[in-house]
């Protein structure tokens, strides 16, 4: 500052610092707003879940006597709506795992054929996948339901797996094709010259090198199948074949909705996907934006 003064320039540095501090304060304020905005519904979920039974209908903004009773009820299936909770949890898991396996298998085979073996008609498949990706799933639900009845798959977990695989594979094909461009085609050619069959190239070269993309797409498919509601609600009707979200939504329609049990169920249901999301977050975002910003 003294240098600036000696040279006869106006002392701008304090003003500059003031402005920077103001901007920093503004950013902090914005951050606080974002934090409150984001956490309010989640806070509400925990608050209701921690209230003991009968205390839900009060006007408090934090639980006066927090108790883990509702979580205990959910874990021990101690309420008649939760009679098959772990069975339904298992159904969700079963659907999720099979969706992942089938999506990875079907998606990688198709993209291997289009991208690596350069099937001439590959553009047809790419366009079909793109079209599926941009059709809203909820718009297809009504005819899909009727067709599942025709296939004899109503109230069958396989109808859900079919639906989830249908909506996850287009994404898988895009990501695989994008990612495969970073793997030199010479690797395949070298293996072919050494006498490997296409199947061997697929298993020995393509799949191992695609591991990061497989993880990204697998996570995506698992979360899609676990979180999806509409198709599971329409296609699964009996208590034993239901998945967790369908059972959860059933609570809403009951006359005396036990909100604390419902929120506890919702939290137990949300923990696995959130954990998986944060564990694979970097891979997921890498997949989501892979090549997405070439402009």
């Amino acid at each position: 500052m003294s240098v600036a003064l000696r040279e006869g320039k106006p002392p701008r540095r304090p003003r500059y610092r003031l402005r920077r501090n103001l901007r920093e304060a503004g950013a902090l304020a914005l951050g606080l707003v974002v934090l409150i905005w984001t956490l309010t519904p989640i806070y509400n979920m925990f608050m209701v879940a921690l209230e003991p039974h009968g205390d839900v209908f009060t006007n408090e903004i934090w639980p006066a006597k927090p108790s883990l009773e509702s979580f205990w009820i959910v874990v021990t299936q101690g309420y008649w709506y939760l009679e098959y909770f772990w069975h339904q949890f298992g159904n969700s898991l079963y659907i999720g795992v099979l969706t992942v396996v089938l999506t990875l298998l079907i998606g990688s085979l198709a993209s291997f054929s289009i991208g690596r073996m350069r099937l001439r008609q590959g553009w047809l498949v790419s366009n079909a996948a793109l079209l599926t990706y941009v059709i809203p799933a909820s718009f297809l639900a009504i005819p899909f339901y009727r067709i599942m009845q025709k296939y004899g798959l109503s109230n069958n977990l396989w109808s859900i797996i079919a639906a989830e695989v249908t909506f996850a594979t287009p994404y898988a094909i895009f990501i695989f094709q994008q990612y495969a461009r970073s793997i030199p085609i010479e690797l395949d050619e070298a293996a072919r010259i050494d006498g490997a069959s296409p199947l061997q190239v697929y298993f020995r070269i393509y799949l191992p090198l695609m591991a990061p993309a497989l993880v990204a797409v697998g996570t995506y498919a698992l979360l899609l199948a676990w979180n999806e509601y509409l198709y599971q609600f329409l296609l699964l009707s009996s208590t034993r074949s239901m998945t967790v979200p369908v059972a959860l939504a059933q609570f809403l329609n009951s006359d005396e909705a036990p909100w604390n049990y419902m929120m506890a169920t919702a939290i137990v249901y949300a923990v696995p996907p959130v954990a998986i999301y944060y564990a694979f977050r970097r891979r997921m975002t890498a997949g989501l934006t892979m090549g997405g910003v070439k402009g």
Partner: protein, 310 residues
Amino acid sequence: MDSAQVLRTAKAFPDQALRRVWLRRRAWHGGLLGSEFTWAVAFVIPYAAVFLAFVAYPVVYGLWLGHSPDLYAELLADPIYQRTVVNTVLYLVIAVNLKMFGALLLSGFFMRPRWWVKALLLVYVLPWAVPALPSFISIHWMLNGQWGFVNNLLWEVFGVDGPGWLETSRWLALGSVIASHIWKWMPFWTVILLAGRMAVPQELYEAAEVDGATGLRGFAHVTFPLLANLYLICTLLSTIFTLGDFNTVYFVSAGGPALSTHVLATLGIRDAFDVARPELGVAAVMSALPLMIPLVILLMRKLRTTEVQL
């Protein structure tokens, strides 16, 4: 195929007819030979089967279900349907634009090199990580006029009696639905746009700064032109996703009060399953086609040429 190749082929196949067959086969197989072509086709068959059985067939079946013009006349005469169309348009215009613009601004905010900004980003993506159902049920209860958290808070802090957000007025309920949608989906688009911003080389900003483009001018002349294409694609994609958004309306307002906040996606399901008239439900959904077809064509072009992957 250049002339030298044709010449070589002509030598290999003196018989004209045979040569033509060979050429046609080669063109059809895309340069793949014999067993390789069989393998390539076999690898595509599983996906082709899934597409035909679970996408093409339902689409055709849906078109057939909703083909009768009488259905559309019935819909147009129905005041619930008219309100639904207005809601859908409002929902698309307001929710998509607020969400995308907010995401654009916040992605700039999350570029700040501060530890607490990075920590905040981890919290901020929580709505995207949590499944839709638990959050929307929570929001539904939170907005309850009598026992909900929002009105309790308003009473404790300001001493105001809050309205019944979902029970009394169509506009309050629609506003709540839009806010819930933004809450859930803005983090996703923020992350996408953040990745877009990160891909802009830092030197560009430095060069622009030397030329005097800082702050808002830097944004208008450097950031936005570079992000514009991505922003447009994201907006189009988000419009289609929002058009098909069922969960938000279904769980936050459930179409209420008095069926006044339905959108096409929820009305279609209601007509098909609660009213037990699948043709009418399909017709309600299909009435969005005039909006959807141009969107889909535009998007497929854009996605193919710029390779944006989501």
